[in-house]
């Protein structure tokens, strides 16, 4: 059951990447073949195909992000429930927000070509990043408090 909960989100992220790659290679390639054969019932005009690829790329980024977040969340739960790392369990609370923050940074770095200068999206990203860092500080303070009391 735990394995299912940890692995399934990874499968989702891999599927999203695989689907985008398939679209980029096979669907675009087949559209060219349809054009060469003059099959206009099958051929899709470039504006539409580009629209599909752009939307698909965004979906791919979002799903990879969501999948990895779910993976991290379930991994933390798994490790906690199994009672591993009883001594240093605070380190997981610290690692989780950092992992999410790293994911956001990676998402924006890879996706900079389509995000461009769109401030609304960038602001949303910065807000999430700040929230993750605050979460990290909160966990750090909690750990220090617990250790001091102990």
């Amino acid at each position: 059951m735990y394995l299912r909960k940890v692995l399934a989100p990874l499968v989702l992220s891999l599927f999203a990447m695989g689907w985008y790659r398939f679209s980029e290679v096979y669907i675009v390639g087949s559209d060219q073949i349809a054009l060469c054969h003059g099959n206009y019932a099958v051929y899709v005009i470039p504006a539409q195909l580009d629209g599909y690829l752009v939307a698909n790329l965004w979906i791919c980024y979002s799903l990879v992000f969501v999948g990895l977040s779910m993976f991290w969340y379930n991994l933390v739960k798994y490790v906690k429930d199994k009672g591993f790392l009883t001594e240093g369990k605070g380190s997981i609370d610290l690692a989780f927000p950092l992992a999410i923050a790293a994911e956001i940074i990676a998402l924006f770095t890879i996706g900079s070509s389509i995000i461009g200068g769109d401030m609304t999206i960038r602001l949303a990203g910065y807000t999430c990043l700040i929230a993750c860092l605050m979460w990290f500080w909160y966990s750090l303070v909690n750990i220090i408090k617990v250790r001091t009391l102990a």
Partner: protein, 414 residues
């Protein structure tokens, strides 16, 4: 003769159209999974237990969808051409195809919607059905489509065109004016909504009667003892407001499945969303899952270097290589997976009785053949056609009911 042209109503680009269709696919998968929305199940329960509550919900869905899209057109917000443009041909094949579809889907254990969201929730039976459907599409393409196309072109028990020819306002009033659309919408949607609500009330009253022992079963109460059996605390009486807010919280946190009527309303709003956003761009209704069954088979074959759109009938003249419904189907599965995963329901499940896998495969083949003959499935044709104010959906409904009835009878003997 009404103009049959598509012009975008709103000026946004294709990425937005694709993204909204993908989002609506996600909503469809999520809501259908949470509400266990199954068209076949709604029909089998009529014949097995004479329960009409889920069938009533289905009629309510058709009525609400027709009312929403019809009013948008009648008020001039969306041009009528966007409602009738994708009305397909009507003929013998819809009745025959929907009967085969209903039979196959009831045998296999899922309509085209439930097959997809259950496959994404880990039901191996529905994976097999999906694969069977792909094979069925191929059998249809090479064995039946050339003949069917011939009858469609020659008008043998078939119309020779779609569009406004099958648009009920045009058929009844010979007009596609706002008034004609408004009257037709009310004539179609209101009876469906009332009938849907009545059937639900009727079934619940019947259950209450049976529980009170009015049918000769004295003192029998169907009371589930789930709470105690699960070792949960006995429920205490809560005030109405607290009850409602607890109910909403449980639904949001995925602790409880959605009720049938809540899902009905979400799905009706979903089809209205794509009706507006896709107007003038593309097929502005919910997924054409049946076509996509064929399309995904085509995609699989592409990876083996085979392009069916060059070599095979139907594949070469019926589908663009990609469209909004492709992303919608993918996101439907993602939505269903996400909701089943987050609610803890996701699990790979293999039927204990292995015969069911074979029955699922055969049922899937029949589903593939049936939906292609009918030119669409229970979503892309039946439900959609009610929202299109056409009559093909009504034919499909009766055909599917007869197919499901036959399957229930066969299942009793298996």
């Amino acid at each position: 003769m009404p103009a049959q042209v598509l012009e975008p109503v709103f000026s946004y680009g294709w990425p937005i159209v694709f993204a909204v269709f993908a989002a609506s696919g996600f909503i469809l998968g999520w809501a259908a999974q949470r509400g266990n929305y199954c068209f076949v199940n709604a029909m089998t329960s009529i014949f097995t237990t004479k329960s009409f509550e889920r069938f009533g919900a289905l009629l309510l869905l058709f009525g609400l969808s027709a009312l929403g899209t019809g009013l948008l057109v009648a008020t001039g917000f969306i041009p009528s051409s966007d409602q009738f443009y994708f009305n397909y041909f009507g003929g013998w094949y819809i009745l025959v195809g929907s009967t085969i579809f209903g039979f196959g889907a009831a045998l296999a254990g899922g309509c085209n919607l439930s097959m997809l969201y259950r496959a994404a929730s880990g039901y191996v039976q529905n994976w097999i059905e999906l694969f069977g459907m792909m094979i069925g599409t191929y059998i249809f393409a090479i064995g039946i489509w050339p003949f069917q196309l011939f009858t469609m072109e020659k008008g043998i028990l078939s119309t020779t065109a779609g569009g406004y020819v099958e648009y009920l306002p045009y058929l009844i009033f010979h007009s596609v004016s706002n008034e004609a659309v408004l009257l037709t919408t009310l004539m179609l949607a209101i009876p469906l909504i009332f009938l849907g609500i009545y059937l639900q009330i009727y079934t619940k009253r019947k259950w209450n009667k049976v529980a009170r022992g009015e049918r000769g079963i004295p003192g029998i109460f169907a009371v589930p003892k789930l709470g105690n059996s699960l070792g949960l605390p006995s429920p205490t009486v809560l005030p109405e407001k607290v009850k409602l807010s607890k109910e909403i919280k449980d639904l949001i946190l995925l602790r409880k499945p959605y009720g049938t009527n809540l899902t009905t309303v979400i799905l009706a709003l979903d089809i209205i969303l794509v009706f507006i956003v896709g107007a003038g761009y593309t097929f502005n209704y919910l997924v054409i899952t049946s076509s996509d069954g064929g399309r995904f088979f085509e995609y699989i074959m592409m990876m083996f270097g085979q392009n069916l759109f060059i070599t095979t009938p139907w594949f070469n003249d019926s589908l663009p290589i990609v469209d909004t419904s492709t992303l919608m189907v993918v996101m439907l599965c993602v939505g269903a997976f996400t909701s089943s995963f987050l609610s803890g329901d996701f699990k790979i499940r293999i039927p204990k009785d292995r015969r069911r896998l074979l029955i699922g495969f055969i049922g899937g083949i029949l589903v593939g053949i049936g939906v292609r003959m009918a030119l669409g499935c229970n979503v892309g044709l039946m439900w959609t056609n009610f929202a299109q104010l056409g009559y093909d959906g009504i034919i499909f409904l009766f055909g599917m009911l007869s197919g499901v009835y036959l399957a229930v009878k066969v299942q009793e003997r298996l």
